[in-house]
């Protein structure tokens, strides 16, 4: 599918790279996101307000009082030609997750039964998955993590839960997510992390993950979970603590 520029009124337009969830499509989204950020840092692309990556498209916001769509689109098209060469910012993080408590792993038995593999193997496969943040959205700080091991691919729960606890680690379709807040949700809950995806005590750095990040999970005991949770209650975690490598 070729790249399309889609109209989103007079303050935004969407650069759509495909209609499906796929690594090459998301990589192109992130490459353009990074290329536009670099241009703006260099003082070019005046009038671009912000860019918002999603799984398969980049939404470009602009100020119609300082530029026009007709002026911006050719400048963005020029970036697409060389855009593939630009590697988007990508940190590697490892997040602790407790799978070993029935209170957290509410759907572990169900997932094991539906996939026909043991509970222990479900956990191993989740731990073996290298995830990439395709998008942060739906709620502030909620990461959509692509790269879930194939045997764990399942549709969402037939009836969503009214209340999914904050920091629940869950899977559905080909993805994993971490809930930033207590909210309704239809994903299968495998465990819980003591690391909040959104901590307002960190101010502008409230979110833990950003689009493009690579994420793995590390298995922790309930005791370690409790110790880390107590620590997080006293003061917010410095995200750097979970970063293995920065660009």
């Amino acid at each position: 599918m070729s790249t399309r520029f889609l109209d989103c009124g007079d303050t935004a337009f969407s650069v759509e790279f495909g209609s499906t969830i796929a690594p090459d499509i998301n990589a192109r989204v992130m490459a353009l996101h990074g290329a536009i950020a670099a241009e703006r840092e260099a003082g070019r692309l005046t009038g671009v307000v912000e860019t918002v990556p999603s799984m398969r498209a980049l939404l470009v916001f602009y100020d119609p009082l300082s530029t026009t769509r007709a002026a911006l689109q050719p400048a963005i098209e020029a970036l697409l030609v060389g855009g593939q060469a630009i590697t988007a910012r990508s940190r590697r993080l490892t997040l602790p997750c407790c799978y070993d408590d029935a209170e957290f792993a509410l759907d572990l038995a169900d997932v094991a039964q539906r996939t026909g593999i043991s509970q222990e193997r479900v956990i191993e496969l989740h731990l073996a998955s290298e995830f990439r943040v395709y998008m942060v959205g739906f709620m502030p700080g909620l990461p959509y993590l692509a790269g879930l091991a194939k045997p764990l691919h399942l549709p969402r729960r037939a009836s969503p839960r009214v209340r999914v606890p904050a920091r629940s680690v869950a899977i559905a379709t080909e993805m994993s997510v971490v809930y930033p807040f207590e909210s309704p949700g239809g994903w299968h809950l495998l465990g819980r992390t003591p690391v909040s995806m959104f901590d307002t005590r960190r101010g502008a750095g409230a979110t833990t993950l950003a689009p493009g990040d690579t994420v793995r999970f590390r298995r922790i005991s309930r005791a370690e979970y409790d110790a880390l949770s107590a620590e997080a209650e006293r003061a917010p975690f410095d995200v750097e603590r979970f970063v293995e490598a920065s660009p």
């Binding site: 999603s54 799984m55 939404l59 959205g137 502030p140």
Partner: protein, 354 residues
């Protein structure tokens, strides 16, 4: 003691808002911000705040609060068709205050804000801006994540809005020369981004029918009732993508939902069109039961409408006129002003009833 306005009685949904939280949507953070950026700009202008200050004001919906002044003096800018009165001291008879101008209030006085006529919101700015903490570059309240504004929520009894100054600056009060013309007629929209998810008949239904604002209308969006819009073979669902302000999504049920200030950053329903930014403030002012039509325009037309509207807004701010100070009320002038206010209210009602 620090200067503040104390909430003696909250309104229906009062929140602190500025122009919104820009630059954090990639992290899933909705922009929030004033539903009606024009009224916010005018309220700040009459209160003496320059546009680059991005001062935070109080957005009021349907019914405003009663506020007690705990400062030597404070200048407020009130904009929108809202009933207001001043209670000079405990037990004193309320004295009507006209809207669309500034007023200076002194310690112990109460500003009693009442019903808003014909539109959903009105704004109360204060000189220097409401001094709540900045979060992610903005003071705007986003209630769904309980952040920004005053503890991330609507005002309640006993709250105190922090003021940045202990006294109002010495200058004449300012008033709008005329209520701002928000425009009338069909709401102009740009088709897309998922125009191809709808049949030709679906597009014709959308732009050829009358839609009614349902009771489900808030800062996040407005659900409309009316004829169902037909999807094409591509269907109603998409892999989630970003959402621009004023995007009109159409889920499988076929009814349009306009996404406004508190909209989520991304969503998985096809979007038939996006409201032109010049027509977004008047859309945000709609009340349940009001009838609207939509008409399609191009991106370039929407851009030029916005630039023309911004020129008129700048002219309205440049054309603010001195208003009579609070002290010497002359009954004849008050009577005339009330008559004028009455007319203003009718005009607002007519615009928004279409």
């Amino acid at each position: 003691m620090s200067a503040r306005l104390v909430v003696e009685r909250p309104g229906l949904f009062d929140t602190v808002q500025d122009r919104g939280r820009v630059g954090f949507q990639e992290l899933g953070m909705p922009t929030a911000g004033a539903m009606d950026r024009i009224a916010l700009a005018l309220a700040n202008a009459v209160a003496g705040n320059t546009p680059d200050a991005n001062a935070a004001a109080l957005e009021m919906s349907v019914l405003g609060p009663t506020l007690l002044v705990e400062a030597d003096s404070v200048r407020v800018g009130l904009v929108g068709p809202i009933e207001a009165s001043l209670i000079a001291s405990e037990g004193a008879a309320p004295k009507p205050l006209p809207s669309d101008r500034s007023h200076t209030l002194t310690r112990g006085q109460r500003l009693k804000l009442g019903g808003i006529g014909g539109v959903s919101t009105a704004y109360l700015a204060v000189e220097g801006g409401i001094d709540v903490p900045v979060f992610m570059g903005s003071r705007s309240t986003y209630t769904r994540a309980a952040l920004g504004g005053l503890e991330g929520r609507k005002l309640k009894e006993g709250d105190a809005l922090p003021l940045p100054r202990e006294t109002a600056s010495a200058r004449a009060e300012l008033a709008l020369a005329a209520p701002f013309d928000y425009g009338s007629g069909p709401i102009r929209v740009v088709p897309g981004p998922q125009a191809d998810h709808f049949t030709e008949a679906g597009h014709a239904t959308f732009t050829g029918s009358e839609y009614v604002v349902s009771k489900e209308a808030d800062r996040m969006g407005i659900r409309f009732e009316g004829p169902k819009i037909e999807h094409s073979a591509l269907g109603p669902d998409i892999v989630s993508d970003g959402i621009a302000p004023g995007a009109i999504q159409v889920p499988a049920a076929g009814l349009p939902i306009a996404l406004l200030a508190d909209r989520q950053t991304a969503g998985g329903y096809s979007k038939i069109a996006t409201i032109a930014s010049a027509d977004l403030p008047r859309t945000c002012r709609l009340l349940p039961g009001m009838r609207v039509r939509f008409t399609a325009i191009t991106v370039a037309e929407a851009e030029s409408l916005r630039r023309e509207q911004e020129r008129r807004l700048a002219a309205a701010i440049a054309g603010l006129k001195p208003a009579r100070p609070e002290g010497g009320i002359d009954m004849k002038a008050l009577y005339e002003e009330n008559l004028i206010d009455g007319v203003v209210l009718c005009v607002h009602v007519r615009y928004h009833a279409n």
